[in-house]
């Protein structure tokens, strides 16, 4: 049975929190997340986070931009209002390349970043769920979800402290 209770171990060193998290995972604890002031290399793999699909989203947005740009330019210069400028043909694919390229990039950037905000539920003015105000400064926090009748809190506390936790706290998420 999962609960909404979490145990937080506060560390001041990325290496310590990495090795502690590894131990906890090996012992079968349910590590919910690790909070850090910067990305700890390899931590995402350790927590079993799958590679994000944002790359796929980026590619799809690039294709959208590309298709729209080509369609629009062909429609304007061949179908809607053909004009002869400098004796050049109406359908002049090579000159579409710069704008197509730029629009693909524009769509990729904005589309992907919007998706990033959506999957992280980030928006302007959101009230941050701050674990510890110093987690954006110099502290690293591992949060372990407690499972009813399964998690031995005493043993967990001991592991955290033995591995150099500055502090162990309990947190209730609602």
């Amino acid at each position: 049975m999962q609960t909404n209770k979490y145990i937080l171990g506060v560390y001041d060193n990325p290496d310590k929190i990495y090795s502690t998290t590894k131990k906890l995972i090996n012992k079968g604890y349910k590590v919910d997340d690790v909070y850090s002031p910067f990305a700890i290399h390899g931590m995402d793999r350790l927590l079993g986070i799958k590679r994000s699909n944002l790359t796929v989203a980026a590619f799809l947005f690039a294709m959208t931009g590309l298709t729209l740009a080509v369609t629009f330019q062909v429609y304007v210069s061949k179908i809607d209002w053909p004009m002869i400028i400098g004796g050049k043909p109406n359908l002049h694919i090579p000159t579409y390349i710069p704008i197509t390229f730029e629009l693909s990039i524009l769509f990729t950037a904005f589309g992907m970043v919007t998706c990033f905000f959506i999957v992280n539920r980030m928006f302007w003015g959101k009230n941050a769920d701050i674990i510890d105000p110093r987690v954006t400064d110099d502290l690293f926090v591992v949060s372990i979800q407690i499972q009813e009748n399964k998690t031995d809190i005493q043993a967990l506390n001991q592991i955290l402290v033995e591995n150099g936790a500055l502090e162990v706290r309990e947190r209730i998420k609602d």
Binding site: D12, N13, P14, D15, K16, D33, Y35, S36, P37, F38, A39, I40, H41, M43, D44, I49, S52, L54, A58, A62, F72, Q73, V76, S77, D80, W81, I85, G86, H92, Y96, P98, I99, F101, E102, L103, I105, L106, T108, A109, F110, M112, V113, F116, F117, N120, R121, M122, W124, G125, K126, N127, A128, I130, I131, P133, R134, V135, T136, D137, D138
Partner: protein, 464 residues
């Protein structure tokens, strides 16, 4: 786990801890501005006023306020535009290209370089608007359904490509910069004492809490943004160069223009980054973050790109001679020995000859000297654009149309004033946003196992 090579020098010196980084970078934000900030800010505001005055005058009077004539229809305006766009390129190069190449020295300079990109593109765009003569119809190059029957833009025209390139470049750079800022804005939010600071930094931090899940996605999108910004930055200046290269004017009509312009853009951009950072590390005391090793690396790039640009100048002469086209030959001889010879030789001296001093270690590591050199580079690159534009145009095909161009006071005021605009924005940035990417810098300082925060020996290295 990052591996720190025991033989490489540390990128951040002074044995900084994570807390030191936070404290050093947020100090200018959390305290009243220093006297030097006020002096700098006041001067730039005055110069900005000059820009506002001269631009407003141009808008009311029309392009007759400038020294343009029937033969020379592009001069200071486009020179300044290309100059400012070029400056912007170093920011993207540092943050995107060096990220792809995993060059960790970029981390303490990328924030201000990207800010520089954005402000430089704003300056560049202002010239595009004012050179149109009627800036209130500046939306015409955008293909919109309109009142003239559906009269669309001409997609054959590089000027239309340029509209797309510059606006994409500006908006993507802004997004890239903002994404990089979010974790640092959250740091400022979490340290904020006053309600207003908590609110505003909290508003823009978008609820960032440093979770590993978010960091994972963050790293993915940073990599992709870097991946798309790299070809973008190359394409932007290539397209700017096509504004000239796709014409038939001797001196412009050359295939070397795109790579030559890109090299020149990086050259001038690094010049401006050096100008800004040498002041910043002095005034804001960031010598441990922007070390002499950073200056050394950047001056090497200045030397390489300067030499590439110089190579292009010489290649142009060779091609003119070898092609046998007499108009082309005349255009280049006129550049070097015609009435604008002084502009040509200023350009040659500043861009090709001057950067060669960076072969010497002393020149690469002496801040005051690099500062002077960075100004010389910027003067040289401004003259490069002036030479390309004005000397190619002023000798028209018919000798009866030959003309000379002299800028008016209005044009000179707009040029000087644009520096006011640039520095005004830069000073505001220094006051309100962290000028060094704290999150990235923290990831490259060594992790001290047992003695974290106590026993830091300068130059100490740990292999983890």
């Amino acid at each position: 786990m990052s591996y720190e090579s025991p033989i490489r020098d540390q990128l951040v010196t002074g044995g900084k801890t994570y807390r030191d980084v936070t404290r050093d970078v947020t100090r200018p934000l959390e305290n009243a501005p220093s006297k030097s900030w006020w002096i700098g800010f006041s001067i730039s505001t005055l110069v900005l006023a000059l820009w506002i005055g001269a631009t407003t005058y141009t808008v009311f009077v029309g392009l007759g306020a400038w020294g343009l004539n029937k033969t020379v229809g592009w001069a200071f305006d486009i020179t300044n535009f290309v100059f400012w766009v070029g400056i912007g390129h170093a920011g993207t190069l540092i943050s995107a290209v060096l990220l792809l190449f995993r060059q960790k020295w970029r981390m303490s300079i990328n924030r201000s370089a990207e800010a520089m990109t954005i402000f430089a593109v704003i300056c560049a765009a202002s010239f595009i608007l004012s050179h149109m003569g009627r800036p209130w119809v500046a939306y015409w190059p955008i293909p919109l359904p309109n009142a003239f029957g559906t009269l669309w833009v001409n997609f054959n025209s590089p000027l239309v490509w340029d509209v797309f390139a510059i606006s994409t470049y500006f908006s993507v750079s802004l997004v890239f910069w903002y994404i990089g800022l979010i974790p640092d804005i959250a740091t400022v939010r979490d340290r904020a004492v006053s309600k207003a600071r908590k609110f505003w930094y909290g508003f823009f931090a978008m609820g960032w809490n440093g979770s590993t899940k978010t960091w994972h996605r963050y790293e993915v999108i940073s990599l992709i943004l870097a991946g798309i910004s790299t070809p973008l930055v190359l394409s932007v200046h290539s397209i700017v160069s096509m504004d000239f290269a796709t014409s038939l004017v001797p001196g412009w009509h050359t295939t070397i223009f795109p790579p030559y312009f890109v090299a020149g853009a990086i050259f001038s951009g690094f010049g401006m980054v050096l100008t800004l950072l040498i002041i910043a590390r002095e005034v804001m005391n960031y010598k441990d973050y922007i070390t002499e090793a950073h200056l050394d690396a950047m001056t090497k790039i200045v030397m390489v790109t300067g030499t590439m640009v110089g190579m292009a100048y010489i290649t142009e002469f060779f091609v003119a001679a070898y092609s046998g086209v007499e108009y082309e030959q005349y255009a280049f001889l006129n550049r070097a020995f015609g009435p604008y010879w002084w502009a040509y030789w200023t350009m040659m001296t500043c861009n090709l000859v001057a950067p060669q001093v960076f072969w010497f270690k002393w020149a690469r590591t002496t801040p005051w000297f690099i500062f002077i050199m960075s100004i010389i580079v910027n003067i040289g690159m401004w003259f490069e654009r002036f030479v390309i534009i004005v000397t190619s145009l002023h000798r028209d095909f018919l000798p009866s149309s030959w003309a000379m161009y002299t800028p008016t006071i209005t044009e000179v005021s707009i040029l000087i004033g644009s520096f006011g605009l640039f520095f005004f924005l830069y000073f505001l940035f220094c006051k309100f946003l962290p000028t060094i990417n704290m999150a990235e810098v923290k990831s490259i300082i060594p992790t001290h196992h047992e003695d974290h925060g106590h026993n830091h020996v300068k130059g100490e290295n740990h292999a983890n």
